[in-house]
């Protein structure tokens, strides 16, 4: 595992190896912080703080979990501290969302081959509640398992699943609305 080698070098005094960790995890760390804080400058500051915290805690990391899970938890908690609004991430149960409709699926499929797909999806994610966009990012973009998301966010596994299901529903609803708006703008 690359991280193991880099961490050994860092703990031996080779601080330059830390730049390898930064290069590998910077983007996802920033994405997580941005999903929570929804502000570029605050997200970058949270990421900086998270990397410093990670550097200080490296001697205590024993590879009991994946390094990414451990670090993203630090990023998550650092961003939440910066946000100071725990209510969006409260552990609560809610009535489940309904399944996706055909229209929503069609709208989503229609943008798969578009060049501006990433911009559209980023725009959709920005319209979602912070906790839902974060969980969708962790599950579908970083491909974290439900258990890893549970470790990162301290939510229960069932809560993660409910939020993912609900978030996905909102994602497709919002995407469909954006597509309809685009069509009506063109007309």
């Amino acid at each position: 595992m690359d991280e193991q080698k880099w961490i050994m070098h860092i703990l031996a005094g080779d601080t330059q190896s830390f730049s390898c960790l930064v290069a590998k995890y910077e983007k996802m760390a920033y994405t997580i912080a941005f999903r929570i804080l929804e502000n570029r400058e605050e997200a970058e500051e949270a990421v900086q703080d998270a990397f410093v915290k990670m550097y200080r805690a490296l001697p205590d990391f024993q590879f009991e979990s994946k390094f990414s899970t451990w670090f993203y938890r630090i990023v998550y908690r650092t961003a939440l501290s910066a946000l100071r609004q725990q209510r969006n991430f409260a552990d609560y149960e809610e009535a489940g969302a309904t399944d996706l409709t055909m229209a929503e699926m069609d709208a989503a499929s229609s943008i798969l081959e578009r060049e501006d797909r990433k911009e559209i999806i980023s725009g959709v994610l920005k319209k979602l509640p912070a906790d839902e966009s974060l969980l969708l990012t962790l599950y579908y973009l970083e491909e974290c398992s439900v258990d890893e998301i549970r470790q990162i966010t301290d939510l229960t596994a069932s809560n993660v699943k409910i939020k993912l299901f609900r978030g996905r529903k909102h994602f497709y609803e919002t995407l469909q609305k954006m597509m309809k708006q685009e069509v009506s703008d063109l007309l």
Binding site: G13, T15, V22, R40, Y55, M105, A108, L136, T137
Partner: protein, 131 residues
């Protein structure tokens, strides 16, 4: 259209593929600058040793002198009256002073040598790590 869970998951993954948010290009540099600062302060904490203070050196000198005088007086087969003791000590005072000074200076320069060596290795290590 197949709306199975697996299909929806696949579609969602494809849609979200590559949608990382982009930080500013300078973020990496800023993070490394912070880490180097952390590293420097850690090295400083580990390596800085205080030189013995002047009062400590003088105190050691006095203690050595008294110790040597005490040991010397134990071996002197003189009468125990104060005047005889003082007379005896006055005779060997130059020797006591010389021995005490040599021992104190030895202690002082050993500490100075250690301090200069650790400062030098601190400079070398910081230079290697930051370089």
């Amino acid at each position: 259209m197949n709306t199975s869970e697996e299909h929806i998951d696949k579609l969602t993954k494809k849609l979200m593929n590559g949608t990382f948010e982009q930080p500013s290009p300078s973020l990496n540099t800023r993070i490394m600058a912070l880490i180097m600062g952390e590293k420097r302060s850690l090295i400083r904490k580990c390596y800085i040793k205080r030189m013995p203070s002047l009062s400590m050196v003088i105190g050691c000198f006095v203690v050595y002198m008294m110790l040597i005088a005490g040991v010397a007086s134990l071996f002197m087969k003189q009468s125990e009256t104060m005047s005889n003791l003082l007379e005896g000590l006055k005779n060997i005072f130059p020797m006591l002073l010389t021995i005490g000074t040599c021992v104190s200076l030895f202690f002082f320069f050993t500490q100075l040598d250690n301090w200069l060596n650790t400062k030098e290795s601190m400079k070398t290590n910081v230079g290697k790590k930051i370089g």
